[in-house]
Amino acid sequence: MRVENVELEDFRNYRSAHVELAEGVNLIVGRNAQGKTNLLEAVHCLSGLGSPRAADSALVRDGSERALLHALVLRGDRRLAVDMEIRPGRGTRALINKTPLSGSRALSALTTSVFFGPDELSLVKGSPDGRRRFLDELVVKLRPARDGLRREWERVLKQRNSLLRTAPRSKSTALPTLDVWDESLCRVGAALAAARLEVLAALLPYALKRYEAIAGGGRIELAYVSSWIDQDFTEEALGDPDTVAAPALAGMLKRGIDEIRQRELERGMSLIGPQRDDVSVSLQAGVDNPTMLDARTYASQGDQRTSALALKLAEHDLLTERLDDRPLLLLDDVFSELDPGRRQWLGDAIRSMGQALVSSAEPGATEAARAECVIEVAGGKAVVGSARNG
């Protein structure tokens, strides 16, 4: 997939801008607060994924009611003209070749991107919710039919929690329906966990390779952490998620909630399940020290960033393999956080990853990225500076 050009109208600090993009690495430079990230954000929206960092209302330029985005995308032999109108409170409309799509999410089936910015550090450093969301979003990118799964799960959980909270305290005979919600919880929860385990297993080999390369040796380990899945389950999980893993997981979740029924009733909420699971990220203590340490607690800020980057690049690799097409790579301000060696490595790595948009406030990044195209951004205006300088 390749984006030929992007047009922005009333988007963030852009009144109107037209940007031509080159096929390989596009470097976006400029001082702080000029609109570099906003340009990446616009491209992310155009791939049907919404903003990676803010609500719709923040995307519209002050004083305007809606923001317009257009892009010309080449996918295989197809030329797709993508039009998008972001109307806060009234939803987002998307058209492909002037034909309306049922929802802006439907766009992601045709165009996909992987975004990495400063906030993605939370993938390693932040709360478990960010890591669960990372897996769940990857599940939908790989298997769009799973799109309602997380929402359905949240709905079932909310209903069950409500029942646990109210039933024991009221005279109602609603408690017998807990069995029914247990069954829903186990079925949907197991499907969600099975999908996560499948994605994590597929992601792991790519993450290993990327981390080893960027850190110059050393190992990264990813493990699904859950209080209700049997320790020795991992191998079975690699079977078919729908017919092998999900039914087995549903059984485990059922046994788990049966055991703690009384405690759940006392606390008035669901205490185990995918909503409490996590992914642990561990890194090798040193090149000569094989001990694995939890990255969240023991790793340096630089190593945390490197491992988060490895996860995102691995996501790009996995999507490239499974979707038979390279997703657009969006890297927001990553060079500034890396030492010269890792910076060089990243610059080399992205050159073989298809089209990329890379933003940087640092002049040094220009050399590392050896970009096909440099776009200078100042005060909400984007100018293609110099073509191919490498």
Binding site: A145, R155, S172, T177, D179, S184
Partner: protein
């Protein structure tokens, strides 16, 4: 704020489902413009629907007599009961003209968030119909659960299955899948995924 009676009308209208303050204002000003006869006809329609329309004593569909048109109709197959959440669901199924059995309206679905449990639905009455068929009706053989295909509808269906299957009844659930006559290309992924999961072998 408007003069007393007008504001009262706006307030009353904005209590209606799907009508916000702005729509309520629009409707109120429209009513202000219509003739006295039209206004009286509207109020009479509202009062009449409250006076004359009630729920069928057997199936809880809307009716203007003790029994609704389906429960009164002796030509319908009384061995099958189709369970729905609300009366409009019956109209949807009737439009198919494929179903000749009877109905039972639950008047909702199990939803702890909204404080709706099995006791708030017409489930006891359904059991009574199954245990003691009304005069002239055959014993029930099949119950078709046609609750909505969402979290609450599915939970209600599961609850009914657990309750009714032990009685030796055939409990069935509507299939979910693709709209007929449409293009596969335009089906959303979730529906298509479900249809794929529930695929059937063509020749037995």
């Amino acid at each position: 704020m408007f003069a007393g009676p007008l504001q009262r009308l706006v307030d009353e209208l904005s209590k209606l489902p799907g009508i916000g303050p702005k729509s309520a204002q629009r409707v109120a000003f429209y009513i202000l413009k219509i003739s006295g006869a039209e206004a009286r006809s509207l109020t009479e329609a509202i009062v009449e629907v409250k006076d004359r329309v009630r729920l069928c004593e057997r199936c809880f569909n809307v009716a203007d007599t003790e029994l609704c048109e389906f429960c009164r109709d002796s030509r319908r197959d009384s061995t099958v009961i189709c369970v729905v959440q609300e009366p409009p669901d019956i109209i949807a199924i009737e439009r198919t003209r494929e179903y000749r059995g009877l109905y039972h309206v639950l008047q909702g679905a199990i939803s702890p968030i909204e404080g709706v449990g099995p006791d708030d639905l017409r489930i006891k009455e359904l059991l009574a119909r199954i245990h003691r068929p009304a005069e002239g009706n055959e014993p029930v053989i099949e119950v078709i659960v046609a609750t909505n295909p969402n979290t609450e509808g599915d939970a209600t269906a599961m609850y009914l299955d657990r309750l009714l299957s032990p009685l030796g009844l055939r409990v069935t659930r509507l299939a979910s899948g693709l709209p007929v006559g449409g293009d596969l290309e335009y089906a959303d992924e979730v529906t298509l995924g479900r249809a794929l999961g529930g695929r059937r072998r063509m020749s037995p």
